[in-house]
């Protein structure tokens, strides 16, 4: 059924269709309408779920960790400083290998206090061991939530479904809401490998020694390092599982595409703009404008940020003259994290060819600074003509 709604409702509908059993979240702008909507579904009996009100984001994720350990499908959501306040539990959820799905409605982090959109919040959680998926429109939000539950439960790794605050969360757009039967066919009930059971008590993730140990059954059990290695190993194999998720999704719902990247006019492009989220759709307008001027540019959205689809990205950019990375976040003291990751992927996969594309980095829209399409277009154009700056160039800065 096609409806016109905002991005937060798209996310809430996705969670509802996935039949999450436990929801714990703490309201924070611009995520609040999402959790409000979920609480309304529970209150109205439309969702058979326990909605657990908590006093903080740290507790919200702690509740989800406990409920997921007990074998239920859980949902939470946050933004900005709420995500930062969760940080300790964010790491815990990954180490505990719990398939929690959390919507991150991207917002700038304090200080100074700011409620508008950028992506510093989720990018700052890059190294926590969570899968990160980025959405560019409302259809991708609802579809990504559904794919995320399947994928998270398949690989036992939590997932952040990231979408831009306001630009997506509060704007209205038409999108298709899948039928419950379709979602049920795609996503079977959650059957965890292990669930807490009072009849057979166990301690989960207590002090784990540096070295391996014999467990009570006399079997050699992992030390901390083995557990952390397995997280890394299975994060990497998640890329292949994501392709399987996309294939299954496409078969059942009749839409889908490349699970990792979303290229637009890239095939014959000499220069490719790269970004995360809704910005990449805005860049399509710039690309169309520059194409009319005879400049061969394309744009590629990165849908999967962790695990990083390095090979897919390098293959897509092979033979290009230049790559221009636009980011709403950065690793302070260096450059945008995506730009660094992308350069690393290009070097890894293309250095042997002796032809590496030139990479330039622009920082845009920090703290919700208006991203003007004309300004974006001019900067993209300039980057196809010369090296704009040695350091990442901030578009729209009035310093």
């Amino acid at each position: 059924m096609h409806i016109i709604e905002n991005g937060n409702v798209a996310a809430a509908l996705g969670v509802k269709l996935c039949r999450a059993n436990v929801i714990a979240a703490y309201p924070i702008t611009p995520q609040t309408p999402l959790t409000e909507r979920l609480s309304e579904y529970v209150e109205a009996g439309e969702m058979k779920a326990e909605y657990i009100p908590v006093e903080s984001e740290h507790s919200a994720l702690a509740v989800c960790i406990a409920a997921s350990s007990a074998g239920t499908r859980v949902s939470t959501a946050t933004s900005a400083n709420g995500l930062l306040y969760m940080h300790e539990q964010v790491q815990w959820a990954a180490g505990a290998r719990l398939p929690i799905v959390m919507c991150v409605v991207n917002r700038a982090v304090g200080a100074p206090w700011n409620i508008w959109n950028d992506q510093q919040d989720s990018i700052s959680q890059r190294d926590t061991g969570w899968i990160q998926m980025y959405c560019a429109d409302h259809q991708q939000i609802i579809d990504t939530v559904i794919k995320a539950y399947w994928l998270a439960e398949k690989v036992s790794i939590p997932i952040m479904v990231c979408y831009d605050g306001y630009i997506l969360s509060h704007t209205y757009m038409p999108f298709d809401v899948p039928d419950q039967e379709q979602v049920d066919a795609f996503l079977p009930p959650f059957r965890p490998d292990y669930a807490l059971n009072p009849e057979d008590p166990a301690n989960l993730n207590t002090v784990t020694l540096p070295d391996v140990r014999m467990d009570v059954h006399g079997e050699l059990a992992h030390g901390y390092m083995e557990i952390r290695y397995l997280l890394q190993e299975e994060m990497r194999t998640t890329l292949a599982v994501a392709a399987e998720a996309e294939k299954r999704f496409t078969e059942i719902f009749g839409r889908g595409g490349d699970p990792y990247i979303e290229p637009y006019r890239c095939d014959d492009a000499e220069y490719v703009a790269v970004g995360l989220g809704s910005l990449t759709y805005q860049l399509r307008v710039c690309v169309d404008a520059l194409r009319k001027e005879g400049i061969n540019v394309g744009v590629m959205g990165v849908r999967f940020y962790r695990p990083f689809p390095d090979e897919a990205i390098a293959n897509a950019l092979k033979g290009k003259k230049g790559v221009i990375v636009f980011e709403k976040a950065l690793s302070y003291g260096y450059e945008g994290a995506l730009a660094s990751d992308l350069k690393s992927a290009l070097y890894e996969h293309l250095a042997y060819t002796g032809a590496l594309p030139v990479v330039q980095n622009f920082i845009v829209g920090i703290g919700g600074r208006d991203i003007r399409t004309e300004e974006l277009t001019q900067n993209l154009k300039a980057a196809t003509q010369h090296r704009v700056s040695k350091e990442p160039a901030w578009i729209g800065l009035k310093l």
Binding site: A96, D193, T208, D215, H217, E219, A221, H222
Partner: protein, 102 residues
């Protein structure tokens, strides 16, 4: 032999001795009993057992004489602190030979 085929991906321990490893290896001092001062030893009947009651690791036996499971005793010294007759002394592990140390 590594842990590649271990049945879990996480840290998971069940009720039973030693599932956290042989934690007695952390010990710096070990409790040593002076039977001439220990109440159940002197009376040769079940009595006192304050050391058994207070031991947080449940490694002291409720026997005459009480014994300490040194595989898991961490040498916290609570038994020595609580013993009403000061029958337990914490002795530096360096005082014991390699064989004594398990």
């Amino acid at each position: 032999m590594g842990t590649r085929n271990y049945k879990r991906k996480t840290s998971h321990s069940e009720h039973g001795p030693g599932d956290g490893g042989r934690t007695g290896s952390w010990r710096v001092e070990r409790p040593v009993f002076d039977r001439s001062l220990c109440i159940p030893c002197k009376r040769n009947k079940e009595s006192c057992f304050i050391c058994w009651l207070f031991c947080p690791e449940i490694v002291i036996s409720r026997t005459i004489p009480p014994t300490v499971n040194l595989e898991y005793c961490k040498g916290c010294g609570i038994c020595a602190e609580e013993c009403p007759t000061k029958a337990i002394t914490m002795v530096d592990e360096a005082q014991f030979s390699e064989e004594d140390k398990d």
